[in-house]
Symmetry: C2
Subunit: 437 residues, 2 copies
């Protein structure tokens, strides 16, 4: 194995393009961008143990995927083109009933590999067997905020169990003391968690100072049911439970009305837009980007799971977001390329509380290098346009997280073993589920 992957080293990235200027970046061995600017390489070349030739590459902050169910990579392509309820009840849930911790480990390994290969260095996740997911993230070298998916189905005993599971997971993550990995509280959604459960989650997250992850207003049915049951729309209901905080990421948010957008922004909630998943499952309405932006909300981006997307490529997701917003809201000027890129970088980093999502001095060295020696970056009239509208994650050549090189010239150590392990786990899962069925 190439030595550069083995630990943090002082790194010099020479002559890379940052905001249109040729720049050198020096990363120290604590994983921080210690210096950046044109022609500083002479100053740092002797300190650096490795020099990465950035010639003709564009440097970007590592992309941040703010809504995933990472281990569902194992379900990629298992079921598509179905109505949401049929898809869940006939395909996804029966398979998930047979999931093991080992499956989640391999699925999350595959997800982390895919993210590294497509330039994502941090993600926010909600799923089951989260200790196994944690092990995979730890080994991968990327960052994650991980939430155990809290689902009590309005049953008091189940609620109690979910509270204990959430506590155990938070304790476990705290004991790891890994700066790349944080716990979040993960109340799944208003249609799967009781009011008591939601309130407990809000209080526990506040007490622990950790973040919250929740699905919000993905479908119109969720909104209508909430109004019928609680006499108010979902955001107002969640606000009453204490769930809307500056530490909260709310995924989807397709069906927010104007008042909800204002409330979300006022509470400092981050909104994770998931355009591919929303289109594939036909939610029929796109997250109201313009209203959330006008309210000042922090709007970020997520892929959702590989069961409903079916990949974790944030480049593709930036394009789909920019295209969907224009199309649905009938305005080709909406969500221009630089704003889409900000959603996937600075806004995402802010949502997860990992650094600034910029390449500034003092920031964590989460850096990806995108080649320009490729058709998608030729010509190079406008880098942010090419990145959002033309390139995909395959144009990332180097991925660095927390100062550690995780991919160099598209090589990731252990890739073959991860692909084989994930394929084995996926095949075994389907055999067990279909054998049992």
């Amino acid at each position: 194995m190439n030595e550069i992957f083995s630990k943090n080293y002082p790194l010099l990235i020479s002559n890379v393009r940052v905001d249109g200027r040729d720049t050198d970046i020096f990363v120290d061995d604590t994983g921080v961008i210690a210096a950046a600017g044109p022609d500083i390489r002479k100053q740092y070349v002797h300190e650096a143990e490795f020099i990465i030739d950035g010639d003709r590459a564009i440097a970007l902050p590592g992309l941040v995927n703010t809504h995933t169910h990472a281990a569902m990579t194992l379900l990629r392509g298992y079921a598509d083109d179905m109505f949401l309820q049929d898809w869940l009840s006939q395909k996804i849930w029966p398979l998930e009933a047979h999931l093991t911790g080992d499956d989640v480990y391999w699925g999350t390994k595959l997800a982390c590999l895919e993210m590294i290969k497509t330039g994502t260095t941090a993600f926010k996740d909600m799923y089951f067997f989260m200790e196994d997911a944690t092990r995979a993230v730890d080994e991968s070298g990327i960052r994650a905020v991980l939430a155990y998916g809290f689902i009590d189905l309005f049953n008091a005993d189940k609620c109690e169990n979910e509270c204990r599971a959430t506590e155990r997971f938070a304790t476990r993550i705290r004991s790891l003391n890994n700066p790349r990995i944080r716990a979040a509280v993960g109340p799944h959604a208003i249609y799967t968690v009781s009011t008591e459960g939601l309130k407990w989650c809000a209080e526990f997250a506040l007490e622990q100072g950790i973040s919250i992850h929740i699905h919000l207003s993905e479908t119109e049915k969720e909104v209508n049911d909430c109004i019928a049951q609680h006499g108010k729309r979902p955001a107002a209901y969640l606000d009453g439970c204490g769930i809307l905080t500056p530490r909260t990421v709310a995924a989807h948010c397709c069906w927010l009305d104007e008042e909800e957008c204002t409330l979300i922004a006022r509470r400092g909630v981050s909104v994770s837009h998931n355009p591919s998943s929303n289109m594939k499952l036909a939610t029929s309405r796109a997250m109201p980007y313009h209203r959330l932006a006008a309210s000042g909300a922090n709007i970020c981006l997520g892929t959702d799971s590989c069961a409903s997307n079916n990949n974790l490529d944030m480049f593709e997701e930036m394009k789909t977001a920019a295209l969907l917003q224009k199309f649905f809201w009938n305005d080709p000027t909406l969500l221009p390329a630089p704003a889409a890129l900000a959603m996937a970088t600075t806004n995402g980093a802010r949502a997860l509380g990992f650094g600034t999502g910029t390449l500034s001095v003092g920031a964590p060295a989460d850096i990806v290098l995108v080649t320009t020696r490729t058709a998608c970056n030729t010509p190079l009239h406008n880098a942010s346009s090419n990145i959002v509208y033309s390139c995909n994650g395959g144009s990332v050549e180097t991925t660095i997280c927390n100062g550690r090189v995780l991919m160099l010239e598209r090589e990731v150590p252990g890739e073959e073993e991860i692909l084989a392990g994930a394929q084995r786990a996926a095949s075994g899962l389907v055999e067990r589920a279909e054998g049992a069925g």
Copy 2:
């Protein structure tokens, strides 16, 4: 240069996955699939001059892009996120006014390179300086149906000139006698070509036995203007001009009503769906796939130009098509993965009249190999789902057109020179245009 690129050879592709089965494919040196089946390699291994190891790859028919303005690769990222009219009048047209034949040559070279790298082996194009485009296509090794964009702006003198230019181009292509390259007649649209011009195009195409390419009902304005001017909707008006034929490809078709869908199908017209471009320019309505499909129309797929997409990756376009149809028409079962793949292969081949778009014996050897040693194809529950929803054009490793290997293990001869030449042409074009402005 690797010898395999130099001419047609008898080729054996061993042990590749076709429709879920391990298959060997033998291509003879006339560019035809001479044999295909499990375990036929022993029979052909001695005849083959080259053996391509298909182990762990999926073989697909070469993808067919049915609507491009190929040379507009030079404008990739030059202007985005604008209203259609501002974008055209302030950015695109002023730049195009400075286009030279050399620019179109380099832009088309870049387009062909990008298509080869993303698994497209045939396209239908409309633009200017088409003799230069032809030269680029000829050199590239892929197939194209090329149309000179006929625009008379309702002026009789201009109409006369466009007729002569169309005749000259058709004569020129005929004289080439290249089975990979055909001429089409290219009346741009009803809002840029007079009734006389449209009728002449229809007659000329019929007389020459060549195909027609036209933009149809991209925007609502086009429909409303047509009704105001001609008292009928665009499809009926074009039918009166003789434009709707089995040799016609109509691009966009966002605003067709039910009656127009029936008419289009009855006339045997092929419809080119261009979802990314429609979303980016906010056409507000998606091509009515379900109605066209119910009418029996041949529905295919195109990227449109890199000014409005901004790439030529047909894998991405398949996904966007499947997602947009589901989302806009509110039905997650609409345009399932196998149908999206058929749009980009069999339906496209039928629209362009190049073979069958299948890997059957006797078909032209237009073959692409997609690696499965990658996250996007792991796990491999369902190949067509992975191809449409998970992979992008970067997963293509080998591209063969008309029996000739154009890319092997992602190497395309001359790639660096084409990228450099296109960048030079694009920079020169912008300098001339902005200097003049």
